[in-house]
Assembly symmetry: C2
Homo-oligomer: 201 residues x 2
């Protein structure tokens, strides 16, 4: 969030908005310069290359995600922690749909210059979910007197929950924007809370 002259911010904002619809490779430096209202030379004064510009963009955007999730979780445990994490992630997606789109399209690419950076950030965010899931899983299993079904697979369960929120959040924002935030959050939580499964008596 270095502000320097404001030019850097304008460039990053323009790059994000363009890349959200065209993708990174489909966004040209000329496009970014025009949208940011600066000359192309200024792009290369502030960022050494196109790759480096988008790496900085992803680092700024995704980098704060894990912190936001940790803050949302706070001291909550069990299902309450899951609810808080889902709501926080959904809010962040809604507040920054462009970044969410970009993340969805870049997260499984393995040929990028910024691959290591993005992998680390993604891993950090997933870990917050995984920790909450391990704890909730064990607690729910203990109270029901059964074995925790997700033992050892909490990173898969974490990506499952993360994917559920990301996909429905974007489905909402891109294709069904008339729905309310609460409606979307409720539907996601319903799908995760066993509303579809038979209740063991």
């Amino acid at each position: 969030m270095v502000r320097s002259s404001g030019t850097k911010r304008a460039i990053l904002d323009a790059a994000l908005e363009l890349a959200a619809t065209r993708g990174i490779t489909g966004t040209t430096m000329d496009d970014v310069a025009e949208r940011a209202g600066v000359a192309k030379g200024s792009l290369y004064y502030n960022f050494s290359s196109k790759d480096q510009l988008f790496e900085a963009l992803l680092e700024e955007g995704v980098g704060s995600l894990a912190d936001a999730l940790r803050e949302a979780r706070g001291e909550l445990v069990g299902w309450a922690a899951i609810e808080a994490l889902v709501a926080a992630l959904l809010d962040r997606i809604a507040a920054n749909a462009a970044l969410a789109k970009l993340m969805a399209s870049e997260i499984f690419r393995t040929d990028r210059a910024w691959q290591k950076t993005l992998f680390a950030l993604r891993h950090e965010a997933l870990t917050v979910f995984a920790e909450a899931i391990e704890q909730a899983d064990a607690a729910a299993a203990a109270s029901a007197g059964t074995a925790a079904p997700g033992a050892g697979a909490s990173t898969i369960m974490a990506s499952s929950v993360f994917g559920a929120v990301l996909m429905s959040g974007l489905e909402w924002l891109v294709f069904e924007p008339e729905r309310s935030r609460d409606e979307v959050a409720a539907a996601i939580l319903a799908s995760l809370s066993g509303a579809l499964a038979p209740r063991p008596s």
Copy 2:
């Protein structure tokens, strides 16, 4: 699946493999020609443009998804239908990871030449999930004597379940390939069956 001379198939296969890692925009027609073992002129003999080539690719790949899902669901109802759909989708992702990656990165793009085609195919696949979810939701609610929580929001719940499977499937294939298929399927189903939620007594 028109086979003509085999050249068309070779081109489509090469294009898919390349686009899975580099993205469509990042894949050049020269790359595709080299990988397919044909000259670039043959690409344009079989497909009128790069856009048309990738539209055909997505149509072939995603187009058969809804059929496969409908077949997996069969006559199953309730949670059994959800289990079958999740397993079938996971199997398809595992069998064609390249296409799954491509779909994940293209599904929310709104500036593509083939946008309408992809939207329709995506909608068709989601509808299979939504129908099963509506039915399972109502059944579970009836047997528990509560209101169906997802009433009216089955498309959001469908994308939630779809997103859960897609994201964990790719997490598995790209980052944790040492896990077994059954382990992954179990973790996804656990996250959807309410393993994390407190059981109402």
